[in-house]
Symmetry: C2
Subunit: 161 residues, 2 copies
């Protein structure tokens, strides 16, 4: 018999993993050349959104108290700055590798957590705040980042022929 905590954690993590799986299939089905195209005229390129997703997922490591970011060098070109404002960015091939490595690392950490640890606070909320805002927990971070991923997947999917 599963506890309510286990059921909830499963629902939220299943949703995360299913979108990561969709993203993997989508990226693997697009060539480097396709990823270098704009998703719509004058809008972000696929490669920018890939780098952006890596940076956002990488930042989940410190936010969930799992350790430092792996690729802080992506924050400036893919979070602080808009697309096409940086002269040289990483190659699509490197970004594909970083994407996989980031998600593998997150999964390894997720697997170490017991259900109840998902209900602990994330690192950008203080212990005092958390007393009155107990919904600001790790699970909420996953929920929010899953929706962020869905948002951009809808855009990257436009690159498909």
């Amino acid at each position: 018999m599963e506890t309510q905590e286990q059921i909830t954690t499963k629902i939220v993590l299943d949703s995360w993993y299913s979108r990561i799986d969709s993203a993997d299939k989508l990226f693997n089905g697009l060539t480097d050349d396709q990823l270098l195209q704009e998703i719509a005229p004058g809008k972000n390129r696929g490669v920018y959104l890939l780098g952006h997703l890596i940076a956002v997922h990488d930042k989940m490591l410190p936010l969930l108290d799992f350790g430092p970011q792996m690729y802080p060098q992506l924050n400036d070109p893919f979070l602080a700055k808009p697309d096409k404002s940086v002269a040289e960015i990483l190659s699509v091939q490197e970004l594909r590798e970083y994407w996989n490595a980031t998600n593998v690392k997150l999964t390894a950490h997720f697997n170490t957590l017991q259900a109840e640890e998902w209900f602990q606070k994330h690192t950008s909320v203080t212990t005092e705040e958390f007393i009155n805002e107990p919904h600001r927990n790790r699970l909420n971070v996953i929920l929010s980042r899953t929706n962020h991923l869905s948002y951009h997947l809808g855009q990257i999917a436009l690159l498909k022929k």
Copy 2:
């Protein structure tokens, strides 16, 4: 002191309402003419995605055991058929009204549920299946539809100037 059930329900519903709010702002910020444009060359029009989102949300009424769909006439043009395959669809103005009415109706039903009722099964799973698959509950429907909404919001946002 909130229970785990209350905290979880709040997290998932907050995420839903925040995307509905984003969608309302996005639709209200686009003119009818903008919504009649394709999100990218050769892709779905904004108006099709609006109709599609209404139909998917409307179907949540029976799925969550709240009653029948309000607008079953949208299923054919916005779920069964692709965009630009139906000669005449509803006006953007009518669809804007249906969008609001659908979400108002859902909110009214959501507000009647106690936290523990969100952990009850949805209507497309049988009582027998639910014993072994207790994650197929109402909350899971909200999670899934929130991500579906995020996916299409990322696309509709491309219509902004």
